[in-house]
């Protein structure tokens, strides 16, 4: 069936809830209202208010409570209304969920869904990409699907994972991207995938930036540009990254997140350490400069990476 990225997430939640009675949803306005983006539309009707729980505006209680439910056998999935609000639930994620298995040998299988990213005139509090905060915290997995198929498959993998998983769903892709999505349950592995073949240069990206990278690659006619979709940031698919470096020798890394210590910085560091001998040029990064995401579309376009900036970086590196 062909679904939008958003409907694929909804289908993933519905599939998980039908297959596993331990799965319950917690979030603000997710019940009868169906969530700010309607990802949970119809789920409370189907599964009841005990399994689709409207919470008060309480990210700490929601995530901390989810950890409590998880350690006694539930599989809670929390929705942050916007990824930005996860800052309010940072402590239970980083200090309780992330450290729990190492400290206590106790698994905390929770999923926290983060509607993330810019390009929607959301301004400084509705546009962020906070994935690196959690990459830096031991014990948390971080995934970021770029297409409808992976959106459902990674969500099901996250729900079935015995660990806390941060699931970044990009708001810009919600209704702009559609794709073929299998019915029923399946899991997308937490590994990278080549989404465009090429041998002269590889663009490494994830989330919405995969589409910007594909657009940039299509526009380059005189070289063969590969695009690697990371899909998972923790664990990071080091083998796939290094294989792409070996094959292509030139690397552009794209982050929609702010540049400093972004996921791409970790990818660049891995390549510098383990792929240096295979490089034919500097590793170039395209990311959002270290500013809050501004509201006005003109300002937002000026800071968010797009196909144009990615294309420029590719051409510069191809000419190196």
């Amino acid at each position: 069936m062909e679904l939008t990225y958003l409907d694929a997430i909804s289908d993933g939640l519905r599939t998980a809830m039908r297959e596993d009675e331990r799965v319950l949803l917690l979030g603000e306005d997710i019940g009868a209202f169906g969530g700010a983006f309607k990802v949970t539309a119809g789920l409370q009707e189907e599964f009841g208010s005990d399994r689709v729980i409207d919470t008060p505006i309480s990210e700490e209680a929601m995530i901390g409570g989810a950890v409590g439910a998880a350690i006694v056998g539930m599989r809670p999935v929390c929705e942050m209304q916007f990824a930005d609000f996860v800052a309010c639930g940072f402590d239970p994620l980083v200090n309780i969920a992330g450290k729990m298995h190492y400290r206590l040998g106790l698994a905390a299988p929770i999923v926290v869904r983060l509607p993330s990213g810019g390009g929607v005139a959301g301004g400084p509090y509705h546009s962020q990409n906070p994935e690196a905060w959690f990459m830096h915290a031991p014990g948390l997995k971080v995934v970021a699907p770029s297409n409808a198929h992976d959106a459902k498959g990674l969500l099901l993998a996250a729900i079935n994972d015995p660990n806390p998983v941060i699931y970044l769903e990009h708001k810009y892709l919600y209704r702009r991207i559609r794709g073929e999505v299998p019915e029923g349950a399946y899991e997308t592995p937490l590994s990278a995938q080549t989404v465009r073949d090429g041998s002269d240069l590889v663009v490494i990206a994830y989330g919405a930036m995969v589409h910007a990278a594909l657009e940039a690659a299509e526009a380059i006619e005189d070289a063969s540009v590969r695009v690697l979709d990371l899909r998972s940031l923790v664990p990071l698919d080091v083998e796939a990254i290094l294989a792409a470096v070996r094959d292509c020798a030139k690397v552009v890394i794209v982050d929609e997140a702010n540049e400093t210590c972004a996921a791409g910085a970790q990818v660049a560091a891995l390549i510098a350490e383990h792929g240096y001998e295979h490089l034919d040029g500097p590793v170039l990064r395209v990311a959002t400069p270290d500013v809050p995401i501004p509201f006005a579309p003109e300002l937002e376009r000026a800071v968010l990476p797009g196909a144009e900036r990615i294309g420029e970086a590719c051409r510069k590196l191809l000419a190196y």
């Binding site: 319950l24 005990d50 399994r51 729980i53 919470t55 008060p56 309480s58 700490e60 209680a61 995530i63 901390g64 409570g65 989810a66 950890v67 409590g68 439910a69 998880a70 350690i71 006694v72 056998g73 539930m74 809670p76 402590d91 239970p92 200090n95 309780i96 450290k99 298995h101 190492y102 400290r103 206590l104 040998g105 106790l106 698994a107 299988p109 031991p138 014990g139 997995k141 015995p162 660990n163």
Partner: protein, 357 residues
Amino acid sequence: MSALTTVDTRSADSPALKEASDGSASHLTPADRVELLRLMSLTRAVEERGLSLYKQGRIPGSFYDGRGQEATAVGATFALGPADPVCPLIRDLGAHLVKGTPAREILGHYLGRADGVSHGREGNIHFGDARRGVVGMSSMLPATMPVAVGMALAFKLRGEVRCALSFFGDGATSVGDWHEAMNFAGLHHVPAILVLEHNGWAYSTPSSKQFVIDPIERAAAYGIAAAAVDGNDVEAVFEATRQARERALGGGGPTLIAAYTMRMHGHGAHDDGSYMPAAERESWEARDPIEAQRERLRALGVDVEELERAVRAEVDEASAQALAMPPADPGHVLEGVFCEGQPEVLGEGAAPWSGFH
């Protein structure tokens, strides 16, 4: 919303206090009352040994104890069933002992040894025992309150006859987590017992600088039943918790128990507590919870000195076993950040109260 019940056992006129202080609490057998004393004495003996090992330089890092507060941790946890998880705090070694974590594993943990309960991954009072339903504290207080509320929510949703208990301190009520957990617990009417250890001090800051309104007064604002209790009276704390558990299991929702007590040491071994007024310390010293329970049992003809000797012998043996444990193994230091395979859920602990047998 259920009717709220507030039982104030601090007042000398309160029938509840009279019942507790004259030792006539009907839910405890003589053996239970001896066991309460034994667990408090064991708590103090393990902590005294820990402090001694710390002063000898054998325990690295820092050391924290709960001297003076043994009755609160022991009394409250003693009312829990085997399947009721507990989230203890820094002054609640007694909760771990009630749930059955062996003293040798605790002393081995203090020492950072391989066979200590945390295998060297945690220090001092920061540990839990997943095998026994004990969720270890984090330093961000009261971060385990939402966790306990979440466990209780799961029990309610699954129709299980059990509850979750989290301790928290008076200082922790200033933190946002506390409000979120109280609000969530009241709203979802979960089977949770929230035990305030009101010792009057958050490190060196008195509660007069933490809040204007005592936390027990705030419970009603969340639709949560409240009970005040003498935190130095182990039988009174037990009884308040037993009633709170009965309410929780009967669908009556959460209870906040305010146990008024006093920390007789500084915040940690590095802290002499000199900021605490001498008169306040002395008045609480005279109300030592262990001595009070000894008095009660002596009146019943119990040989409390013999019990004390047995506790000392147990701790001597546990200490020797802990000191013989191998050091933590750096070969495993990177393991276990993530769970692989099917996760095990929180286990069940000991439940020594005769009401469960």
